[in-house]
């Protein structure tokens, strides 16, 4: 796939940008599917880290353990405490990882689709994608919850987009 040295002289050896395979790969990486997948994976990773962090802060109640029936955690032997703690951390971080991954994939996929349809690159794509994502995430709560989710996520997305599109200050 790579032809070292066969491109423009002085280019990175092994990466000829006119190679049709390289062009195909670059195009594929910019397609909506690849963007969705990458956002999903990134969201999954971030959600896992976030869940692990949050799990370490949830030991304020003695009965808040999975699997321990009525014994508070602090009364179990040391090894058992660790095992319960790690299991809880794992399950919590897995669930937040799944949630964040789904949110990331949904938002990224919808935004890429809307941008591809409109053929424009402005803030409306992010706002519309945020509204749809929020509505889909809150669909189980009924139409009002979906509307609130739409408005909230759209506002969040608009704020982040506005911040990212601020012109850089020239020195």
């Amino acid at each position: 796939m790579n032809f070292p040295g066969a491109g423009t002289p002085g280019a990175n050896p092994g990466f000829n940008p006119n190679d049709p395979n390289v062009k195909w790969l670059t195009n594929a990486m910019e397609s909506c599917y690849a963007k969705t997948a990458m956002s999903g994976v990134a969201g999954f990773g971030l959600g896992g880290l976030f869940g692990m962090f949050m799990a370490s802060m949830a030991y304020d109640t003695p009965y808040h353990t999975a699997g321990a029936t009525n014994t508070p955690v602090s009364s179990l032997p040391w090894k058992q405490q660790l095992k319960v703690g790690f299991k809880d951390m794992g399950s919590r971080s897995w669930s937040t990882a799944k949630n964040f991954g789904m949110v990331g994939a949904l938002f990224s996929g919808i935004e890429c689709g809307i941008e591809g349809l409109r053929a424009k690159n402005d803030m409306g794509n992010g706002v519309a994608a945020g509204c749809l994502t929020g509505a889909i995430l809150a669909r189980n709560g009924g139409p009002q919850a979906a509307a609130v989710g739409c408005a909230g996520f759209a506002a969040f997305s608009a704020a982040i987009d506005a911040w990212m599109r601020m012109p850089k200050e020239e020195d």
């Binding site: 910019e30 909506c32 941008e115 591809g116 053929a119 424009k120 012109p167």
Partner: protein, 93 residues
């Protein structure tokens, strides 16, 4: 581009040379115009980054496809008109 005729295998007449040069000029001008018009329409002027975003790439695809199609339809019409009027020769596009 390629050399025309001097010392080549086939002898080419001056008219053929002129028509091919003309066609090349037409194509080059069409290309220049297309690039100018489509980048005016499709590319955002704030230039926040150096790569084309997805919306801009889709817009450029559609713009160039429409430009080609419009150009070829109009050329066909023009050819029909000039053929109907009895003009012709090598004025093809």
């Amino acid at each position: 581009m390629s050399l025309f005729g001097f010392g080549a295998r086939q002898p080419t007449s001056a008219e053929k040379i002129a028509s091919v040069e003309n066609e090349l000029k037409v194509i080059a001008e069409m290309h220049t115009r297309m690039v100018k018009i489509c980048s005016l329409k499709c590319i955002d002027k704030t230039y926040r980054e150096g790569e084309l975003s997805k919306g801009e790439a889709v817009c450029l695809d559609r713009c160039s496809a429409k430009f080609f199609e419009a150009h070829s339809k109009i050329s066909d019409q023009l050819q029909q008109q000039t053929a109907a009027q009895g003009g012709g020769g090598f004025g093809g596009m």
